[in-house]
Amino acid sequence: MEMKILGQEESAAKSGCAASSCGSNDDQLSHLPDHIREKVHNHPCYSEEAHHYFARMHVAVAPACNIQCHYCNRKYDCANESRPGVVSELLTPEQAIKKTLAVAAEIPQMTVLGIAGPGDPLANPERTFATFRALSEQAPDIKLCVSTNGLALPDCVDELAKHNIDHVTITINCVDPEVGAKIYPWIFWENRRIRGKKAAKILIERQQKGLEMLTERGILVKVNSVMIPGVNDEHLKEVSRIVKAKGAFLHNVMPLIAEAEHGTFYGIMGQRSPSSAELQALQDACAGDMNMMRHCRQCRADAVGLLGEDRGDEFTLDKIEEMNIDYSEAMKHRAEVHAKIEEELTRKNAEKAAAKQGTQFVSLSSLMPAKATRPVLMAVATSGGGMINQHFGHAREFLVYEASATGVRFIGHRKTDLYCSGNDTCGDGDSVLAQTIRALEGCEAVLCSKIGYEPWGMLEDAGIVPNGEHAMEPIEEAVAAVYREMLESGALDAPREEAKQATA
């Protein structure tokens, strides 16, 4: 047992910092007052930096829902799928408590327990609060959080405050009932099914009221929004302004996931998802008003582990049934692990501060051209540590950076398996390589430790320059170096489209 935990600790340390973005972009949270930063600094979903060190888990105790969203299908459950609302095993509160304690003991980096579905947690108040009540008593070292559509939220705020739940996520896709009627076909409200604009108006009022009540009580609120092109994309800028004014501390704009095989309204009706470029443009537009979250992995309602990984298979009901957890013993070990992580974070921050004052900052900026040149997106294959250290073919996701005259910044991540790990049995049979190249749309270079002959050619044909020359170098410096090479070769003189034709 002890050996196993040590092994996990090691692997967690190895996976360390996948994005060196946590170096350059953690001031995402820097404007926040100290008491809020204190709350989020070890929350993997809220802090860009923490998500490389701390793990989270969701327990699926809340199956019922009180609204219908056009991007959700209540019938769906596929183990290949990784997206919100999808779950394989519904738990009773007793099972959820046992599973949480088991995971916390086995994965000491797990600091956060969330209830996010598969329905709406607050439409299942008994099951949700029974879970929170027991865990806040038995495992006071685990942070509790909850996601909701907001309809039942105002009725639950007092109960939420009681269980020391200091993080709530509200999904707010609109503040205009006209827009809402295109997203929500119905809600169940005061014993009736209500449809159309009337339904959207009630839902919006309840969400806004819930947001105000939570912030009044000092409970942190993050707002999630699903970006639906042609439906709410422009509108989300207004949403961002309003929720910030009401005290939400973070806005997470996520791309719509809609495929016909999901059986959702949007999937069947052919509503398209936003491109990575559209998502980035909207996130940038909202960023002027709000702290934006760019590392969300849109995980399943029963995900377990570090962000972007799912170890749920190790903690199925039959497996946790056999585990005997001494939680007070586990808590001691957890405290040691947490202290070590904090130590490492403090050390890294100190190094970063020193580097900023020293040569690194100067050398980065001196790499940059004096005259204004166009920005370039580059994809990076990394398995952690802030280094370019992964083979192109092994990358399940790529981190995307933007290089420009002002420096290098983290933009987001692109998944290569597009939410589905099933191979021939589902999906449209496109080759994984073709899908990967499509996922990298908009990028002009891909930096990796190594790359095979076939993908090299296909990438070049797609106008993306493969680059294995910066293996084992820090990401930001390598991206800056490639940008400088592009500048010197004249690749930045031409706009992107022409550059693509020139290489084709």
Binding site: C65, N73, K75, E261
Partner: protein, 92 residues
């Protein structure tokens, strides 16, 4: 007069706590309504509660065996579009 739940039920629990007659029970493969207890909410609510929150079209039948929520009435997906999409997926 009683409603009934059929196999397309996804066991989501939404209906169980809101039945004013405690007529709904968790069961496998799907939840069931006790016909002796079900009043179709007459005297309690304007609409039968289970059928007003159920997200699955066709999962709840009225006393005549008709779906209370017809195809397309909850998701907004026209039935012919759903059929076409299913056929297209199967053909892959």
């Amino acid at each position: 007069m009683a409603l009934s739940i059929i196999e397309s039920c996804v066991n989501c629990w939404a209906c169980e706590p809101i039945c004013p007659s405690q007529a709904i029970f968790e069961a496998r493969p799907h939840f069931i309504i006790d016909p002796k207890k079900c009043t179709e909410c007459e005297g309690d609510h304007a609409d039968p509660q289970c059928a007003s929150i159920c997200p699955i079209e066709g999962a709840i039948l009225d006393a005549l065996g008709e779906a209370v929520n017809a195809p397309g009435s909850l998701t907004g997906i026209p039935p012919h579009r759903m059929e076409a999409a299913l056929a297209e997926i199967q053909a892959r």
